[in-house]
Subunit: 540 residues, 2 copies
Amino acid sequence: MLSTMQDAPLSIAHLLRHGSTVHGDAEVVTWTDSGPRRVSYAQVGRRCAALAHALRGLGVTGDERVATFMWNNSEHLEAYLTVPSMGAVLHTLNIRLFPEQLVHVANHAEDHVIIVDPSLIPLLAPQLPQLTTVKHVIVTGPSTAGLEAPAGVQVHAYEALITDQPEEFDWPEVDEHSAAAMCYTSGTTGDPKGVVYSHRSIYLHSMQVCMSDGPNLRQGDRALAVVPQFHAMSWGLPYAAFMIGASLLMPDRFLQPAPLAEFIAAERPTFAAAVPTIWQGLHLYLEQHPQDISSMREVLIGGAAVPPALMHAFEDEHNVSVLHAWGMTETSPLGSVARPPLDATGEEMWKYRYSQGRFPASVQARLVDDEGKVVPNDGASIGELQVRGPWITASYYGVDAADKFDDGWLRTGDVGTITSDGYLALSDRTKDIIKSGGEWISSVDLENAVMGHPAVAEAAVVGVPDEKWDERPLVAVVFREGSDATVADVQAFLADKVAKWQLPENWAVVQEVPKTSVGKFDKKRIRSDYHDGALSVTRL
Amino acid sequence: MLSTMQDAPLSIAHLLRHGSTVHGDAEVVTWTDSGPRRVSYAQVGRRCAALAHALRGLGVTGDERVATFMWNNSEHLEAYLTVPSMGAVLHTLNIRLFPEQLVHVANHAEDHVIIVDPSLIPLLAPQLPQLTTVKHVIVTGPSTAGLEAPAGVQVHAYEALITDQPEEFDWPEVDEHSAAAMCYTSGTTGDPKGVVYSHRSIYLHSMQVCMSDGPNLRQGDRALAVVPQFHAMSWGLPYAAFMIGASLLMPDRFLQPAPLAEFIAAERPTFAAAVPTIWQGLHLYLEQHPQDISSMREVLIGGAAVPPALMHAFEDEHNVSVLHAWGMTETSPLGSVARPPLDATGEEMWKYRYSQGRFPASVQARLVDDEGKVVPNDGASIGELQVRGPWITASYYGVDAADKFDDGWLRTGDVGTITSDGYLALSDRTKDIIKSGGEWISSVDLENAVMGHPAVAEAAVVGVPDEKWDERPLVAVVFREGSDATVADVQAFLADKVAKWQLPENWAVVQEVPKTSVGKFDKKRIRSDYHDGALSVTRL
């Protein structure tokens, strides 16, 4: 029996139409070195139509890819809305990729056009000759100064290109399952892999951003989107803002604490989103330069675990509520959001808020152990997190990665527990968990325990092969200068902090824990140093 | 280019799974003559599985229809969740239909099973022999007392039927476009017409109920669903509550002010939904029986225009915010919701709140005039409201009603204006609007103006044929007892209140305005009385 409901596809053009009419008075404010630059959503609507005509003129038809190499600003918002609405595919290039990665992803996606900010020309230009499919580069603003076009590439100034174009466009009807935008993961191993979002997935995700068990973005909010538009679609804020009628505050390249504080003072955001390091930096800055930032009702933090101390500092010192969330490029990215149960108070409430949060109805989650068995959501059983739902990826663009999926579920590579009421607590990455005698030991938990010793400056824990137990933990520990503590002291210190069978017997005192380019512990390096005999290991 | 997103259908089984696990501690509370009866969502999940097994045992396979003839209670919630989740179709029978209408819709939908509350057996039993497709009747509770089965029909007690059934069920995967539930409109003219909701439409609508520009139902809310489950799916509350983890408070047959007040005192709802007459009745009752009802953060009112006085009474006297909304069975039903812009204050804010509200991104709205031309959303141009979107019906079940649609848009039959920022203000029904010289005159506005005269007790306005202007208004006016005012006095009173060309010249003084069975002005009757010469008309 068929329903009588309308066959109305969920589409970005629909969000564009809605936001630029019903919420035409909302605005996108871009920070510049001379203060704010404002464009109303009604103007955005007209500029998007003009941009669509201009892109058609550059030969963008069908599902051709239009890439952006941009900061968060109003032109990037226009690209977000225009490119999918005209049926083409937006490709947000990560400006922080290594040059060879950038060349790989632009060629792999077959980008036809790249829109670039003037300030980013120096990063893009050296690679341009190797981008074999790019035919046009559009420089935002009035000029193309500073960009020499390689042979076969035309260069255009954004404002000149859209001037005199019609301010209405007959947006095509699209299949909601068709591609709207793509984003490559910044995986630390191997080439970045592309995730292709659909009109449907972006639309549904936008609804979740405005739901009471999600970020609950509201009409009239002023949303400060610090999280880059080239990182998992700026967590969906640009689309959700157009859906609900929230204004957008875009910091462009001014991500340092001082200009961010100035932006906040000038534009009074009510909501904001960024990774923990941004908020940590702002918090430290405000200690020296006090300022009221309590216009922000709530700040959404994800991308890495939030230190509880940071959450308390924001609440106690700034009267700003911190909302912890988990997600990844592959999940659009909203997975779980740490809103506590309404009746939780005190320590219990905080425990919920420290967690990675609860999954909404549209994201199914399960934990799977080493043998592929689903373990119970009891808050104790540990497994790899797998997720399923309408805005979770089922594959990667043009590469075979079957090992990243399990019977239709995405394997996240994260390890943790889920409570019976659906809250996720992550403890490790699958590649770092230590599998000892059929049990799992979290390397992160062990590191935190070791670093609790006053004489320890830092410590990293990896699994090393063991004949009896398969794997056992190895601790690479750095002692504070002047300390005369020994590894035996630290092991004794751990005795009442971790289970006896988890107590590490392999210790290596090092001068420094090796780090990756983004500052994380380089555990691959520690493992290879161990295997090469480059580490001097004490066995207790 | 295809997206890489998972093909995850939106389905009721998904809501059932989510609500009964992640929100297993939430509860449905049914009011009885001996106080509250509680079932946790975890229990609901197990009982739904048992009910599905029982229904399969009664031959419910494929898309067979399972009807309900029930009040709002926990068993009705179980039917809401179970029937669509097993792939069958829920048909909510309106217990207030005339007997011949009830027979028509049950036969038209080909109901196989009917679940009935014991208190409603007297209403259903006399019609049972005429329900030609019904094979099973299930009486909620432990007994079938009071129901004699006609030949060919088996009668079962709900509790006996689900006892000893397995508490898990392998819910099938469904196409999200397939039928989940159906509801017949209670149209005042002609046979009721069936609207068939899909899994997709119900799921998306549930998201909207939890969105910040919708009712914004929240996890932990205690939602008092006074609006019947047989009226436009209780405005989507049961499904949304399972999605977000809000508890449900179900009044069963206790809809009178006294037991409602008792229910509110005992169970402290934080949210509620009902038509204006329910709230009007409660308000009057509380004047005599004072009680704190401010546990309710917000009450959603729709189904008829809300008198501003009622809104103010709730806010000023009870500290309860009233949220006005517009919708119809054909729109699932959420159309517009009257949340004012964040920056509106004072009189301006109230004007937004009195309106029928703003349309969310998923409901497109336009106004179309008498000649089929779309008129602007400028807050002044009047037209018939037409809507489009993923939870708006495209047709009626098994009947041809092409005149109710216009190029894919639903013709609502409501007439009004829409502001440039998307707020709807309804002024009339299309069948009652008066078309005079190419312009539209709102019969409702004119009635309100006439009833503003102190000597007028009540007045109804209809259009009557006119050679020159096509139609002109006729006022049927009732003067207060003892008044010696004349129709000329009233017309003079109108002079500075309505445009000159709208001034009615046809007047009939009557003892009483004829009313329909639900208490509305019977304008059809007034028109036929006019044509039959039964009205004595004064022409000024």
